[in-house]
Subunit: 504 residues, 2 copies
């Protein structure tokens, strides 16, 4: 076949996880309009090739510097890196058919039950960045229509198989995971040192926030380094039994990260996709025993006992089929846990609990003890029913704090030292006398995000009251912290629109 050659060029645009190629509309070698309608092109250079979505670039009519020459092919930042050729290298392009597994997506749209092989093909194509965000949305929405429990299992298995899978020298590797949605709630930073101090291996890999104000990785990073490679992590686990590191660069179930990048902005949050996402990550991380925390409340992800039980059973079915020892704890999800919302403020709360400060948030302390107790009971040597007592003892006698300090030292110093709550503050006050009857978790998360979370780690919300507290008009309910004037403006304006706390 005749191949017209183009020079490859990096176009410094972050197109999320989608490969995007740029071609001048007045490119002389190719009929670009024909390519555009096909939407996807295959780029060939040397022995390398890449699938990308084609965007057309106009000639700059106003005499300004052109983005691309007529003989160039631009690639977005990540696509350029994935192709791995130097700038100026010669490449050819050809129209690419859509990924073969899209045919299964179309069948799913039409109501089909897909086979494990279908899911494998879909997840392989997604991991290889062969799906556009539009195609990812189509797969997610079609799956949200319905999935059998067997399909959830097949999807989870496919996500595990396409990615790295960690193994550990010990027989028992425990973990805990919360399905999310509750502001604060940074129990992991307390559970891990308690469990590790007891002697169970808990090599915790956490995510950074995607649409929440803080992930555990963001919060731990206030205190120490979290970007730890696998060899270093193995060393820490051998020495300390526990760690709290960022899992994002370990290629654990990589398709999951790509799916989440579309799920979150669309607000798709089905139980089926949640189960596949969480369990694929945990199995990939080498866990053998897993405690799932399902907060239940009127504004939580799970709002009723019926929903909670349905979700619990789905976790159990898929977990059992994957050979996990899985337990589910249904917890109180009616309000935030702890006082801080945002990395610095949440790290402060967790350390206060570990230090057994008298004014440490009691709800965070008690929930952490409860969860740690459930995890400890995975240990055959712990007498049934004694987990909670044991967890409380490890926390109260300072072993958990000592373990946390050793873990932090082993992971290394934080990238930025001495982070403080953001200096721009505003107290949001009670509009009337009364009792705090409700805190809207979604609204408080939203305001904290606008204040700069999770990027500006000192930004966020510090809660000064809890549900049930009696307040007088003008009493502060919470304090907004921000680091930049524009973000401070966004957050305070949002609080003016709706404070997210009902006093009645």
């Amino acid at each position: 076949m005749l191949k017209a050659m183009l020079k490859v060029r990096r176009v410094p645009i972050d197109t999320h996880s989608e490969n995007v190629a740029f071609l001048r509309r007045d490119c002389t070698q190719y009929t670009v309009e024909g390519l555009r309608a096909l939407a996807k092109i295959e780029v060939h250079g040397g022995r390398r090739h890449l699938l990308a979505t084609l965007n057309l670039v106009e000639a700059n009519g106003n005499g300004a510097h052109a983005l691309l020459g007529t003989d160039e092919l631009g690639l977005s930042t990540e696509a350029f890196a994935r192709l791995g050729l130097p700038a100026g290298a010669e490449v050819s392009i050809e129209p690419a058919p859509p990924p073969g597994s899209l045919e299964s997506v179309r069948r799913k749209i039409n109501g089909a039950v897909l086979t494990p092989d279908n899911y494998r093909a879909i997840i392989e194509d997604i991991s290889d960045h062969r799906y556009s965000r539009m195609e990812l949305a189509a797969f997610l929405v079609a799956s949200a229509g319905f999935m059998t429990t067997e399909e959830v299992l097949a999807l989870t298995q496919a996500m595990v198989e396409v990615g790295q899978r960690l193994t550990w020298p010990m027989d028992m590797v425990v973990d805990k995971h919360c399905i999310g949605g509750i502001p604060g709630n940074r129990t992991t930073m307390i559970v891990v040192p308690i469990v590790a101090a007891h002697g169970l291996a808990i090599p915790k890999t956490s995510s950074r926030a995607i649409t929440s104000p803080a992930g555990t990785a963001d919060t731990m990073e206030v205190l120490c380094n979290v970007t730890v490679d696998l060899d270093h992590m193995r060393h820490i686990i051998a020495e300390e039994k526990g760690c709290l590191v960022w899992g994002g660069h370990m290629r654990l179930a990589p398709a999951d990260d790509i799916l989440i990048s579309v799920e979150r902005p669309l607000g798709i949050d089905t139980q089926e996709q949640m189960v596949a996402s969480i369990l694929s990550k945990k199995v990939s991380a080498g866990s053998t025993h897993l405690l799932i925390d399902i907060p239940m409340g009127p504004q939580a992800k799970v709002r009723s006992q019926v929903e909670a039980v349905r979700l619990r059973k789905m976790f159990e079915f898929v977990g059992d089929a994957l050979g996990l020892n899985l337990e589910v704890a249904i917890t109180d999800g009616r309000q935030p846990i702890g006082r801080g919302i945002g990395p610095v403020l949440e790290a402060r709360d967790a350390m206060a609990v570990l230090r057994c400060d008298l004014d440490a948030p009691q709800d965070l302390r008690e929930k952490s003890i409860l969860l740690a107790g459930r995890v400890l009971e995975f240990d055959p040597a712990v007498r049934g029913g004694q987990g909670v007592r044991l967890a409380r003892e490890i926390l109260d006698d300072g072993r958990a704090l000592a373990k946390m300090e050793r873990i932090m030292a082993a992971q290394g110093p934080a990238p930025v030292l001495g982070l403080q709550p953001g200096p721009l503050t505003r107290d949001v006050v009670a509009p009337a006398d009364g009792v705090v009857v409700n805190m809207d978790c979604a609204r408080l998360n939203h305001i904290a995000r606008l204040a700069g979370c999770p990027m500006d780690k000192g930004s966020g919300i510090d809660l000064l009251q809890s549900v049930g507290d009696r307040v007088r008009k003008g009493d502060p309910l919470y304090r907004i912290h921000a680091c930049r004037p524009a973000d401070f403006g966004f957050a305070t304006a949002a609080a003016d629109d709706g404070i997210g706390v009902i006093v009645g």
Copy 2:
């Protein structure tokens, strides 16, 4: 609220119909990572504002010319035009919540039946370019799950209401529309002059090809101008009763064009969306009487009588509710109609039929007469059952050709004169002796697209055999025409992979 100002700049990238804004990752005024997760921003400048999806631009580390300054906001070609401010004008940005109607999309994903008000809000947001392609995909796939007939009606009505609606001075305005999928099949260019010659008003607005090798507008543009404004179109209809113009710039059901730009690449083609798309366009164009052509065949869009009847009833239900006089013709969709696939080759066939050339494609002639006859019977003055006889008469006595020539003269000369079939040709031959038993419409369309259709109007496929013809090994089955070497390479390589014709 504090507003940090940025200078607006046009980034010459065609992002289809989606507004895209570009901001440097190292922008000093805004915490861009926080904005990115929110995905959408509202751009304010003077009294103008615009919703856009935010892409982050990296600083160019290699010393090359930066795409944007740290104090600039880039806007994609169409977004810059929509905002309407000069380059360098000051703008501020703020995080924008997703379009309000996405909440209805989420309910649809969860299985809800939406109200007419829900559909109105969705279609208004789509027309205002407030949906990303990912969000459009979510709406389309959720709707593809199921829609009640009442929902199809509500969607159609919303698409009509949000857009321009043409009115005509005559009581009866007729039209015909084929649901598509059959290569060639350019009957419209024969039906319109027959019907107009009889004296019925048929102000035909057609689309350009999106994923097919040629639309009627592309094919008519080989012969004459098709970019006609509304006043000129009214004048032509007053004089000639018929025209064949491009409808794309008339804002007829504009949401439909946006939905199609996502439907086509995803291959979503449900009957519900087809009915809403076609009928919203026709009602917007002011049609009172409409003939729908549903080709049925093993590789056509409609593959069985059961499907055809279901689709016919849906057209009838929605058409009746909208006050249209609607008839449905179920036709033979087992193979291409006519010989040419591609604008120049199809225009050649249509003119051969109008001139009553002895070697004109008889299948195109007979199908056009049949459809024109059905349209003519909308006229109360035509005796029942006499439409086909009348259509044949108007074609055979030269009135249709004369009318076509007057319409072409009225629309003005083609933008490029004297177009010929592409000079690069290759004959694809029979692999064995036998009878042509099948022609794969989708495969032939695909090869014609690769050859350069519809942009290079002379490119495409010229069929040299029909289903049922007896051939010997080596006899040419069809000829590929292309204008550019790269396209010629793509098309011939695709034909090498599968010729799309079965000889058995």
